[in-house]
């Protein structure tokens, strides 16, 4: 006896055409094994179908909303002087969610204040002594980001723009990358993974960095002071880079 194994599930779910269903009916009339199989499939199918689809996870919905809002910011049309922001470090960044910090700086440049303030820059000649590169890493509470209204986001970008303007003014800006608001993973070794909480203060996550030129830690640190992230309980980490 050949058992119609491939037909039992669609038989239970009523997805067989009339002829195929008759064939299964005829087989079931003579086969105890397949009758038992159909009963078991039907019981479990009914149990699963009876349960409604689970509701959407609200934090997930909020994260998606946050992620799709970000391209709005990248729509800012910019005309960035190539010696300030090299195209290879910015324009080639893939995806619309990248480089909010640089967008903020570039948007400011497009707005005109960059060149207005450049003439009054107190130390534009210091770039000649800045042979080393330094990296700023941003930490901030992700919960605040997820539910942030667009107006608040724009205001934060404006404050970032104000804060980062001197770095660009002095010709020190190299690159900056905006990371996604997704937290991350920290590898303790090739096989051990921790959350970011293991390395940074609880509740904070790495959200981006700036790379700029400075002559020493003290030289770089003066740009860190006044970073608006501090107002929200964030942290800034300063490291010298290769």
């Amino acid at each position: 006896m050949i058992h119609p194994e491939a037909s039992l599930y669609p038989y239970v779910t009523d997805e067989l055409d009339v002829d195929a269903r008759r064939e299964v009916d005829a087989h079931l009339a003579a086969c105890n094994d397949c009758r038992r199989a159909v009963a078991e499939i039907a019981e479990m199918h009914a149990a699963l179908v009876a349960v409604p689809e689970p509701a959407a996870d609200e934090p997930f919905v909020a994260r998606v909303q946050s992620a799709v809002r970000q391209p709005i910011l990248s729509d800012v049309r910019v005309d960035v002087p190539p010696h300030v922001l090299h195209p290879s470090t910015f324009l080639h960044t893939r995806g619309a969610i990248a480089a909010i910090v640089l967008i903020a700086l570039a948007a400011g440049a497009a707005g005109g204040w960059f060149w207005r303030d450049r003439a009054s820059s107190p130390s534009s000649s210091t770039a000649a002594t800045t042979s080393d590169r330094y990296m700023v890493l941003f930490y901030e509470p992700l919960e605040r980001r997820v539910a942030e209204p667009i107006e608040t986001r724009r205001d934060r970008i404006r404050r970032f723009s104000e804060w980062g303007r001197p770095i660009a003014l002095e010709g020190r800006m190299i690159s900056g990358v905006r990371l996604r608001d997704e937290g991350g993973r920290l590898y303790r070794s090739a096989s051990e993974v921790d959350t970011m909480d293991a390395a940074v203060p609880p509740g904070l996550a790495l959200t981006g960095f700036l790379l700029f030129r400075a002559g020493s830690y003290e030289d770089a640190a003066r740009f860190v002071a006044g970073c608006p992230l501090f107002e929200d309980g964030g942290r800034v980490e300063l490291r010298r880079a290769f």
Binding site: E5, A6, S7, L8, Y9, P10, T13, E15, A37, E40, I41, E43, M44, H45, A47, L48, V49, A50, V51, P52, E53, P54, A55, A56, D57, F60, V61, R63, V64, Q65, A67, V68, R69, P71, I97, E182, A190, S191, V193
Partner: protein, 194 residues
Amino acid sequence: VTGDAAEIDLIRRAAAGDAPAFEALVRAHAAAVVSIATAELGDPTTGAEVAQDVFVRLHRSLSTFRHEARLRTWLVRVTINACADQRRARRRRDRRLVPMEGIGPRDAGALVDRAESFESLESRRVDRVRVRAAIDELPAALRVLIVLRYDAGLEYREIAHTLSMPQGTVATRMARALRQLRAALSAPDSKGTP
């Protein structure tokens, strides 16, 4: 959710920049997409990340979305493809690292909620933890079929098309998956065994 007039209207409004309309679409399909990605990748964290990327891609594709297929079907296909990309990337990454064993527990994602609802079915008092465990313990090839059918609501022919798998194979595996689930839930140590 089907590709009915209400959903088509939501898609058109979302494509025109209506944020609440897009949120409604996300809300309608989030559980299914997260569940599929989690079942495909065996890791809820990565599953949620991939699911988020799927919805970002949806947002970018709204203006070109053709209403020839249900949105749910489109999302399932994109999710399956994104998970395949993720697995390829993971394999490339793992080749560069010491192989990792047992990265996180396998999880059936939204099916956990389904399991909780089991308890409310008085005629079928199955322990929710055991339901979750039973789904988690299914082989990956069977687990994803359960998710596609009972979370995403695809018919078995749609599942076959989505996975490029013969309909007969899908039907046979689906029957096997349900019988395995039932057997696991009927084990003697299962609380409230029917």
